[in-house]
Subunit: 337 residues, 4 copies
């Protein structure tokens, strides 16, 4: 089968190579998935760049945690799926339900990811995808979708109708956040450096967009647009300097969901404003299978379509990574298989 590999020791896109591996076979309780589409996250960029936890990968690794396809075969004892089922793998393999109690192995690192014609996964690490989604759309769900769902509907207090939700930026998690928050009856504000991106976010249901180039103190705009109330929920990727502003933009008893790997860098943070308002910050480590399944139910009932900005053919996977690095997109980038 055809696959891509991040070469051992890889620190740049040069180390991403197409390769061949033998077709895998499903063992007991495993399913063989014919992958049809995959999707990129910022984490994948870091892995290829050798900047992810622990540095460069130490063995040739199939990249991309996110992919969808159909079940091609099932091993002995499988009860959750049958050949032909449309499915996706879960980001963490082994985290079924309940709060995070350990760091389960994730697809992409340390486990092989989804950028391959076939993948074998334990049936417990696979979920059915919503019937109205294409494989390209479904491929965006495992990391960005589940992270947004966890951030808004599970961790801390869930969004309820009438709440005010602020999504920082227009990347994958933020656009899912926008769509889930709208489905939950909230008013949604977004920030961006681009009026064009803001316009697209407003077409997706955002009530207001704040261009942080024009309003570097965007937290003040949030307060102004909400008559001083602030945001009940904030989806924050933790870029340099954003947390302190988010804390100022938070409503009393509000919640900042910290979702991003950008938060890896320490920085000057002042949590006093959050404390004075009885607010909270919750760390979001993607999520478990139960969250994925609940999210899929929400997507199905509400007819949500993930925001896929561009689709690249398998042979142009490197172009997808370059597009992601350039940042000229909203929502998600997809590579078909």
């Amino acid at each position: 089968m055809k696959i891509y590999e991040v070469q051992a020791g890889c620190t740049s896109l040069e180390g991403l190579r197409q390769a061949e591996r033998p077709d895998p076979q499903p063992g007991p309780r495993e399913v063989l998935i014919r992958v049809r589409a995959t999707s990129l996250n910022y984490r994948d960029q870091m892995i290829i760049g050798g900047q992810y936890f622990g540095g460069p990968v130490d063995r040739n690794t199939i990249p991309l945690s996110d992919g969808a396809g159909e079940v091609a075969a099932v091993g002995p004892g499988v009860t959750r799926f049958k050949p032909g089922d449309r499915v996706a793998g879960t980001f963490f393999q082994g985290w079924i339900a309940g709060p995070m109690q350990q760091r389960h192995p994730a697809l992409g690192v340390p486990l092989d990811g989804m950028l391959a014609e076939y993948r074998v996964l334990h049936e417990d690490g696979v979920v059915a995808i919503p019937s109205h989604l294409s494989f390209e759309e479904a491929a965006t769900l495992p990391c960005a979708g589940v992270t947004a769902w966890n951030a808004l509907m599970v961790a801390g207090k869930p969004v309820k109708p009438g709440d005010i939700v602020l999504c920082l930026g227009t990347g994958g998690v933020s656009m899912f956040g926008l769509q889930f928050a709208k489905a939950a009856g909230a008013r949604v504000l977004v920030t961006s450096s681009s009026d064009a991106k803001i316009q697209r976010a407003c077409q997706l249901g955002a009530s207001d967009g704040i261009n942080y180039k024009r309003f570097p103190d965007w937290q003040k705009e949030v307060l102004r647009l909400t008559s001083g109330h602030g945001a009940d929920h904030i989806v924050d990727n933790g870029g340099p300097g954003s947390l302190t502003r988010s804390f100022e933009a938070t409503a009393f008893s509000g919640k900042v969901a910290l979702i991003g790997f950008l938060a890896g860098r320490a920085g000057d943070i002042n949590p006093l404003t959050l404390m004075m308002k009885g607010g909270s910050m919750v760390g979001i480590g993607v999520g478990n299978r139960a969250m994925f399944e609940d999210m899929n139910g929400a997507i199905q009932v509400n007819g949500i379509k993930p925001v896929v900005d561009k689709v690249f053919p398998f042979d142009q996977a490197a172009a997808a990574f370059r597009c992601q690095a350039a940042g000229d997109f909203i929502g998600k980038l997809v590579v078909t298989v």
Copy 2:
């Protein structure tokens, strides 16, 4: 001012009389409300019938817990409102926030209700109403609206997008439940004895209606329509025999919100099915002011319009009660002032 009174000892609609009382004046921290519209609940029917807790009223009492109007004047020290504000009274006077810890006095009994040209209430027992609602629409909120909000968004686990919600009947609480659950991204099923009412509920967003005359074992229809999953949330008014069926219709870890005064009669109930599924039953005693305000935010953001079936002029309040007793309506009945 003109008022209606339920006469002391009243046990039927004969005891509802129009009368005159002196215009009231607001004292410290009180607001004077010029009532514009009021709304009926089944509880009011019981009060007039002398069947409410403790039997007939023991003094002439202005009926109806629910009403809306504008602030005509404010007493010393009032900070929450000013003349001209559009407001409604809260069902319980004194329950500001947090779980129920005592039985606060309610409008209609033991306190005078809203079927009067003017009413004076403590500012803490008053809330602003959504700007897009007429007084007739806003008058329906204090009891039925807040009960549905509490049942679905506060008590036990809140509704989240993708959940399945079952509303029994098409009365006021159920129609609010339908609208709030839809706003929260849920799929909603309703039951009714009337295909016409089911049709109206479906126009309001219900995905399915079950005519319980054709399907006396309606719980089986709920399971069939949800592929065996059942309902994650059920709004049950506790009519004879409904609870055991609701327990059978409940999903694993599901919740039955018991909202009704119909539940007053003991009956044969089998909680075993609920127990085996890890389900719960929560008793809903209307709700507090914070819930009312949160609900108003949800109504505002989602542009929800309460279902007002018929509006009666002040002089025909008795006709409104007769209409309610006949049951030939959905949602709410309103009496203007």
Copy 3:
């Protein structure tokens, strides 16, 4: 190996027979447990009596869901345990964490139970036991212990210091409830038909015991002893007539945990008192592995010793069942292996 079997079609203790089966071997991810002690629950009594769901067992089945022992061997791929570890099986096999979403198979029915010299279980259905407990003590945990933990610390609102907890009766779940509630800083009341049992419960930390033979309206005693407050949490086995009394004994916003198989019989229940106080009833279906592990942590930190009333040798298992049927014990009955 020596085992006991409930004979297919069994409807009385006559159908419990000692037998031999080949020694089992652990497969992939399975552990072989040398069982040292087992414990009885009322459910086992029902199974032997042919009164459990679905009637008599349809194949010869090893009884008793609860047992503890040491790991004798592990199959390929096992990571959670090693030979020599002191362990117990979980009641439900396969329910790892999170709310109940399906009915997993349980030990005793439909799966073989623990009354055997050896048992093979998947490593995911096994937990380590607290180091200060004997096998006899640890054998009492899987059903009664986890049920009490779920009822008080997980389902609905958890017990917090200063809460008032009422445990009905002095059986296994109630005595665990008493011990867990005390560990959590609550005041605990118990009911019993026996002053001697009440005395033992008070030695275990109960502040008050109510003899329901002397006080058939025991709910009034609960209110009197708590200055009218009532119980914030009630552990109710659902015996005939108890639920309506429990609802009357419940505090505002209180919770009744329905734990028992006695609740199987429908009965005249009046939920109105519960509704008026904003109370709730939660159905407890034992619990998941995460609860078992959390409970073990609580037992360890607080030095809790389960209440084992009598220990029977393996050859006298039938005597243990007769003792349980007679009801002349508190806490748990154990059969060693």
Copy 4:
């Protein structure tokens, strides 16, 4: 009556003066309290130093948010108290229950505090104190006690038996945290710069003390002492550099309660470790009256005695402030009236 005043513009202890004011009288729904004891918090130190929010006080203000005494008289309409009742004022006046939704005025600033022979408060801002506490002990509850209760039993997830709780330092909030966590069945670790203080904390029930002078990387000691698990709950006063260490000491899905005014200074904080473990940080703004009452119930049922290190007579209030600034105490300092 005799009082102390922080002089307008005060920036040091020099500005704390004893003075006389007329005896106050209770108005409608107000109670007159004969104050018997008061207690100091770090916040009071900041107020006198002119470092509290908004700078120095702009009018002569009676200091100290915390005090207890007996009701000397009640105004018209008071129902919650009668003369002779033993009471304390709530830190925030007007926050009855539910999450923080606004910043209510607090005693000490902007309202007059408790360092006076008499104080008049609205009955809604007063609570009964536990019967087994002296006035000196009860005076410590309103700020430090309620903060610790909120941090551990209300905000985010509450402590349950078997949890691991880490209290940073041996000040008032930490010592209450230790006592409440022990009452809730947790294992408690403390940090301090003093072995003598650690010894006293262990006498109060701490299982382990970490001297952070000997172990500047105290977070590693926390992990070592808990076999790598970390702390499920951390009470952190937000001193420079502590938050990043706390995040490293946090267990998966653990919670850091940020309680302190020391957190006012921005600093280099790395939230990545918290995010990777799905942990959270909650800001604690003291708490509401319902928390105070729940806490008092817990104190009563568990016979908890607040840790009062030193008691100063009224005339030596300045000495109490100097003692607090020197830091040579654990728990609380009290000034009698």
